[in-house]
Assembly symmetry: C2
Homo-oligomer: 328 residues x 2
């Protein structure tokens, strides 16, 4: 739940008038995304019904320097047929603008709802769309390092280690050992390119059975393609009770590799990347858990959910645990 | 900021399918209203663009028994040309339904934005629309007592009196004396009918200069028409520094009485009704201030804003203080 910045009707109308999209007829702050302020705006449009857009004001967690990468990437992917929001350009040509002293942009509106209850067919749609996105990003010319990959974890860990026992006894020790192991074994030469890096179910829309869009590219970066899959394995394939659903994983990975086949090295690295991805979300959640102000609007997510996932991947014998059919 | 109840995509699609409005293509929780959960939903519609609706789940502050009155009233007013949301009827004929174990309804979507910075022309539009609403409600057959009028204030006061000094020293004594005076002098025979009773700026939409809709009828009831004006005087005609803007009041009242002239008795009662309306919002805000749970999502509003308004109306010499031109 968000909307941190309240934009007045006058400011909003003036902002929309910088674009060639007709007159503003409605604006509702929407309760999605915890990092930025989002409004569903409607303009009179050109036909007989209003046209919907999403207006985003980028709040403090997004570095302004990164915005040209994020907006450029969405435009690049949309131009190559990926169903994702496309930034609109104002009459002066600029997509990235300023509203209420914050960076702001208007992007196209995507139909669809995110799946509150993930089914295997959702995972298949996700796998296919992820592979298509990886291929479509190949000729995107900008680059952005993944500052939440292995090199970023130790500083994050050190910010929370002294108080980690408040969440669970022995947690700092377990995470420290895990960090040592991951730093020592982390691969350096897997196929890589643009990844989404945060493709949780609430960032993937479906219309009925069909995937209708990917949103929220504000963690996108250049990293291993297989790391993106590792993020999705953790976000989509565990049940509420912590158990791993191998059918969902098989649907996701099989659909992915029908579009973009894995190398053997990628396959072999998958358990390690999945451990790393689990550690990444555990560390950011742990930080938020220990540092969120009392009475904050956003309830922090449970870091321990990701400890269970980390342990699962640490204990698997190999990528076969993810339901992969080796012949495929 | 609201959205208390998270509705899953499957439940939502099933709910929308009970209406004859086409397939659900989008749903966003919107950050408006603090009492209920609201979603902006879009369906495929009948033309080439989606159609927007508002889905409301009624949370605990609304009494289910009152909902037929609220929904019936909106339908009645909309049928008489008042720009307000109209409840849709499902295929079985019912407008009031159930979703996630809560009463729920879908109403039409109104274009427009509420004015964050109120100007005199907004007050004129409001006055006219309010009078038109009062006239249009004349033949509405249901009735609902105003449980937040004079008879409801003493119990509300008693729930907060013992701790009122936490907000301001001497507050309980001042409010107690005010309550005595209002109970003794409250009129009994002014022109009455259906009133909105909560017509704050965030419940009134404008498209440019033109008023495009009234929303949120969940405090509507049968009471004095002039009491509705008294609520609006308090909600629209004070500046942020507590000063009363007589130009705004004159615009509001003049526009109102061009549509529905006041009786002399209504005019004379206006200062008293405005004191009462100020006390009503002061008491509910005081209650919320003293009783809101720590860490609640919704920050309570400052009750003392309404103490200043109450004192203003107590000190005016008569209705001329509201900028009324007696010859009009």
């Amino acid at each position: 739940m968000a909307v941190y910045t309240e934009v007045s009707d006058d400011e909003l109308a003036a902002f929309v008038a910088e674009f060639d999209i007709g007159e503003l007829v409605s604006a509702k702050g929407i309760a999605e995304g915890v990092e930025n302020s989002n409004y569903l705006v409607q303009t009179a449009g050109t036909g007989d019904a209003p046209t919907s857009y999403i207006l985003t004001l980028y709040e403090k967690r997004v570095r302004p320097d990164d915005l040209p990468y994020f907006l450029g990437l969405m435009e690049h992917l949309a131009a190559r047929g990926i169903a994702c929001p496309t930034p609109l350009h104002g009459r002066d040509g600029a997509a990235l603008r300023t509203l209420c002293a914050r960076p702001a942009a208007i992007v196209t509106f995507l139909q669809g709802m995110w799946p509150k209850r993930v089914a295997p067919h959702h995972c298949a749609g996700l796998g296919q769309a992820l592979a298509e996105m990886h291929l479509a990003g190949a000729d995107f010319e900008m680059s952005r390092a993944n500052d939440l990959s292995v090199a970023g974890w130790r500083p994050l860990f050190q910010d929370s280690a002294a108080r980690a026992h408040e969440v669970q006894t022995g947690l700092a020790e377990e995470l420290g050992a895990e960090l040592d192991a991951l730093e020592a074994a982390w691969p350096t030469d897997l196929p890589s390119g643009v990844i989404h890096a945060d493709l949780f179910p609430d960032n993937v829309f479906f219309l009925g059975q069909r995937l209708s869009g990917l949103i929220d590219f504000y963690f996108a970066c250049n990293d291993f393609f297989a790391y993106d899959l590792a993020v999705c394995l953790n976000a989509w394939c565990f049940e509420g009770d912590g158990s791993f659903n191998v059918t969902k994983a098989r649907h996701m990975l099989s659909a992915y590799r029908r579009v973009r086949p894995f190398s053997d090295a990628e396959l072999d690295a998958l358990p390690l990347l999945a451990r790393g991805s689990a550690l990444r979300f555990l560390l950011t959640r742990l930080y938020d858990w220990l540092h969120h102000p009392a009475g904050a609007l956003v309830m922090p997510k449970d870091p321990l959910e990701y400890l269970g996932k980390l342990r699962f991947h640490r204990d698997v014998a190999g990528p076969g645990a993810y339901g992969l059919d080796w012949a495929a």
